[in-house]
Amino acid sequence: MSEARLVQGNEACARGALAAGCTFYGGYPITPSSEIAEHMVRLLPDAGGVFVQMEDEIASLAAVIGASLAGSKAMTATSGPGFSLMQEHIGFATMAEVPCVVVDVMRGGPSTGLPTSPSQGDVMQARWGTHGDHPAIVLAPSSVGEVFDLTVRAFNLAERFRTPVILIYDEVIGHTRESVRLPDQVEIIDRVRPAPDSVDFRPKAAGPNGVPPLPAFGDGHRFHVTGLSHDERGFPTDDGAVAGALLSRIHSKVADHEDEISAAETFMLDDAEVAFFAYGIVGRSAREAVLRVREAGIKAGLIRPTTLWPFPGRQVAVAAKQVDKVIVAEMNLGQLIGEVERAAAGQAEVVGHLRADGEPITPSELVGAVTAAGGGN
């Protein structure tokens, strides 16, 4: 561990990427994500990597996908408007099964919106922004230290499952500086590559866990990459059975490991009568609110997902059987609350504390929300 120093969330993201082995960054700067690019442009060359500022966000993710196919661990970072432009290529990376990490630091939208203010308005875009049926892995940190850890995890999941992974956090998490000790060493997972001398190489034939080994261009294997439905040889086909099987396999890579990928931290939930569901900076507000209302004798607890997708529905369902009420606090007009309602399945009352005016939800506000909701009653 290095000594404790004041580190910004966006810097922790860049340092986590480097620790995970990232050697390529292609991006276009946008508030409030720009510090990730600023750190990468300074740090990547010394780490033997390449930084390219592209002409826009469409090209940025295209460059990342190309770099990944050439064998690099690759990433980009953006905010809402750029994230919208990246959706097409997120779908391409999903279909072509190209590992990469996309970071979205959320600001107020839609459109240019509130460029320097926080929001959590992109959590559904992260799930469904690209078209067609597709899995999504979306991670959501609540602190500077967790930004580092989940950036590493995002790379590891991307490499393991040959899929784009999205790291999403609000502007407050991106711009907050905290005193942290960043680890010198982290656990790293690298993509499985085919044996160099493998004959009859089929680039899209599933290996263990349904994931095909991925060679790097230049390794010697020749392979075709396409966003069209394709067979195990990687060439386009309109055979419905083959197309359906491909989509099922891509879906199953994530669905079959949902329990392992999805994660949520619980806090003081054991005897709770009312539970918050909150992520990002609001997870920090809710934790503080739990401590304050408990001093007033209200038994509150917290479910704080660190994986938004796959949605940690099992943890919500378990909590809903125990508490009377779940308060979903998010900086949007109601996005994950629908998922919470679905998971709670009527076992607990689900109410929203929603805010989308560019200001973070504070602990005081949430203390008020619990009190107004009559505690757990």
Partner: protein, 178 residues
């Protein structure tokens, strides 16, 4: 040290974000835990700007100011906007140009903006003068750690000017040495 929430607020260009960052770094150098957050508008100059610093002896849960213990307001707009958010028992430092006329017992005013102008010829070191005032007024961090943090954070060619600004800020509270 129990939790202290400090908000430094003013206009873009006054160095409000840098001042907050220096204060948090000084707190860490003093052996405390600290967080820093910055809020600014879309413009690179002008517009409202603020920095929240939380200093505590142990782990910091919510990293922003929720009940402000110390507000440092460097513009009239910042004073009007954040004065109502100061906690009971909290205190306010405001630039003399935008001080309330009377009747606000928790507010003290100091000539921060004018002093910064005297030191730098402009508004560049306003935030650092404010840090000097804050240090002499509340002593939240170790004085040497604060000088050290200023020297580390500002560009080398402006180091002496910023250390002078810090001293000038402290003298606004303590008076000039005889």
């Amino acid at each position: 040290m129990s939790r202290n929430e400090i908000r430094i607020a003013g206009a873009g260009g006054q160095g409000v974000v840098t001042a907050g960052r220096i204060l948090a770094e000084a707190a860490i150098l003093s052996g405390s835990n600290a967080t820093h957050n910055q809020v600014y508008g879309p413009q690179s100059r002008g517009g409202a700007s603020r920095s929240d610093v939380v200093i505590a002896g142990d782990e910091i849960g919510f990293p922003l100011a929720d009940d402000i213990d110390l507000l440092v307001a460097l513009s009239g707009e910042a004073f009007a906007r954040y004065r109502p958010e100061v906690a009971a028992g909290g205190r306010v430092i405001v630039d003399s140009r935008c001080a309330p006329e009377a009747g606000d017992e928790v507010t003290s005013d100091f000539a921060v903006v004018d002093t910064a102008r005297a030191v730098s010829g402009g508004q560049l070191v306003t935030g650092v003068v404010a840090l000097g005032v804050l240090q002499a007024y509340a002593g939240l961090v170790d004085a040497d750690a604060l000088s050290d943090a200023v020297a580390r954070r500002v560009p080398a060619k402006h180091r002496e000017m910023n250390l002078e600004a810090l001293r000038a800020g402290m003298e606004l509270v303590n008076g000039a040495p005889a």
